[in-house]
């Protein structure tokens, strides 16, 4: 199948994510990604869609350098991820924000501490933490619930805490792997609107999703994976109906 991808102004220095002929094989089974070529510019908003098992999460893990590629070339924010030194990885990840379907909050800590956690890890001072955490909680609309524990929150609220945690360190790139997978349509829309707002403020946002309605409505770039291969890459694309 031909890859439909409009020509974009890809000045190399504007490109923040580059994958060239990337293959990723796990030790068992067929390769999860095959010969993937993907270029994403600074400030883009990109949906990654595809059936379950098509390699979307694998792609996110490669971008995070949680996994290494089997062959090809991958560069994220100027880091050649197949060559990056182990002790440089934390520095690399500090420019990435990431959210998951299952929120991954610390259940024994309240909203404030969950967000402050991200700042402590990058060793911000208490003064900065006290300034940054409330302001990011206000952005995601949780200023009033900073004392609540995760299990006292709805799914949508928990995902907003996770989002606040991903954003508080001001990442260059935000990766979201099915962030609305556990949410009802209303909350899904709110999270997506937040992601869009974050993107409008300059952060590059990459969202893996199954939400056909939202993808079709938002008119963003859509990359479709099928069995580890990019079968389509469209500006203002839609959810490709498979069958």
């Amino acid at each position: 199948m031909a890859v439909k991808r409009k020509k974009r102004s890809t000045a190399a220095e504007n490109e923040i994510i580059t994958l060239t002929n990337v293959c990723k094989a796990y030790s068992t089974g067929a390769p999860a990604l095959k010969d993937v070529n993907l270029h994403i510019n600074r400030g883009e908003f990109v949906f990654i869609v595809g059936d379950s098992g098509s390699g979307k999460s694998t792609l996110i893990k490669l971008l995070l350098r949680e996994l290494t590629i089997t062959s090809g070339y991958i560069n994220v924010m100027g880091y050649d991820l197949s060559k990056i030194r182990h002790r440089k990885i934390p520095k690399f990840r500090r420019n990435l924000g990431v959210v998951f379907q299952d929120f991954r909050l610390l259940k024994d800590r309240n909203v404030y501490e969950n967000v402050a956690f991200a700042q402590r890890i990058i060793q911000k001072s208490n003064k900065e933490i006290k300034k940054n955490v409330p302001s990011i909680l206000a952005i995601v609309g949780l200023a009033g619930k900073y004392k609540a524990k995760p299990k006292q929150l709805s799914g949508g609220e928990q995902q907003r805490v996770a989002l606040a945690r991903a954003l508080v360190n001001k990442p260059t790139v935000l990766l979201a792997d099915e962030p609305t997978g556990n949410l009802d349509p209303k909350n899904s829309w709110e999270i997506m609107k937040l992601l869009e707002q974050i993107n409008e403020n300059g952060t590059t946002v990459i969202v893996v999703t199954h939400n056909r309605e939202i993808v079709n409505a938002m008119q963003k770039r859509v990359v479709t994976l099928k069995r580890g291969v990019i079968i389509s890459d469209e500006e203002k694309g839609g959810y490709i109906d498979e069958d």
């Binding site: 934390p90 990840r93 500090r94 890890i121 990058i122 360190n169």
Partner: protein, 298 residues
């Protein structure tokens, strides 16, 4: 590391302690037991060595001279003996002094009838050793010296003391090594469980960009605190116990305590406290760092 990051890490370490209470308690108890044995052993050994040392100081080699040897040669022999490294002290006992002391010890004043000194030939050197195990070498040497008629020694005491000293050294090294291994293993297990309980949190930390050092530190602190607490408890117990036992010995067995000299509690604890705390913290550090290096690679 920033100061508030340091305190944060410290708090997380303490938190870990309480998070898996039962394993923490089990490790503290085991380390306490180990260091209690160590402390007890140390106190006993130190006292024993103190007593042995006192006894050693009383072990002498007696050197007698050929009949009519000139004083200048005797003087010379004395200087030669004193140059030997294993010799700590040399006392000269003249024939008269030997006779006086014999009278006092054995005749109890009934020395009538002795008009001349019957111990005419018993002028001697009493040679005290700093190291009893060197006794036979010294005796061989002395017997070869010109002008020496006879060398007397008490071999039995010397070999017994030497043997006991060696035994103490071997046993203490052995016990300490075993305790060390057991404790390291235990702490390592506790930290291992802490890591598996917090797998999720560690993963999140990695995504956010935590360094290996930041992720590992709380666990190392946890291990070191287990070691510290595990060392402090037996120190307290042994301190109390030592005082009670000494009190008991001096009141109930005053004979024994006048015969043998025991060390004061401060003399024991001046060394035992830093050593125990050091071992405890060291074990904690080692046990946790091993585990953390193996299982926590970001």
């Amino acid at each position: 590391m920033r100061i508030n990051s340091f305190f944060y890490t410290l708090r997380q370490g303490v938190r870990n302690l309480f998070r898996n209470k039962w394993f923490t308690l089990a490790s503290i108890a085991t380390i306490s037991a180990c260091l209690f044995l160590f402390g007890l052993f140390y106190a006993i050994v130190m006292n024993f060595q103190h007593i042995v040392k006192n006894a050693q100081e009383g072990v002498a080699v007696y050197v007698f001279f050929d009949d009519g040897l000139e004083d200048s040669r005797i003087q010379q022999i004395g200087e030669m003996i004193l140059k030997r490294p294993e010799v700590s002290r040399v006392d000269f006992v003249s024939a008269e002094e030997a006779w006086e002391s014999f009278k006092a010890d054995y005749l109890g004043g009934y020395e009538d009838g002795f008009t001349e000194n019957p111990l005419e030939n018993s002028a001697q050197y009493e040679v005290y050793l700093s190291d009893v195990s060197m006794q036979s070498a010294l005796v061989t040497y002395l017997e070869s010296v010109d002008g020496v008629r006879m060398v007397n020694r008490s071999e039995l005491v010397a070999t017994t003391l030497t043997g006991v000293n060696a035994l103490i050294a071997y046993v203490s090294v052995g016990i300490i090594a075993i305790l060390f291994a057991v404790s390291v293993f235990l702490i390592s297990n506790t930290v291992m469980i802490g890591i598996s309980v917090r797998k999720e949190e560690i993963n999140i930390m990695k995504y956010i960009g935590a360094t290996d050092f930041f992720v590992r530190s709380p666990f190392v602190i946890e291990g070191m605190m287990i070691g510290l607490i595990g060392a402090a408890i037996p120190l307290g117990i042994i301190y109390t116990l030592y005082n009670i036992v000494m009190e008991y010995i001096t009141t109930r067995f005053s004979m024994l305590s006048s015969l043998l000299s025991f060390l004061k509690v401060e003399e024991i604890f001046n060394v035992l406290t830093p050593v125990s705390l050091g071992i405890g913290v060291g074990i904690g550090f080692l046990g946790s760092i091993i585990t953390v290096r193996k299982h926590l690679r970001v």
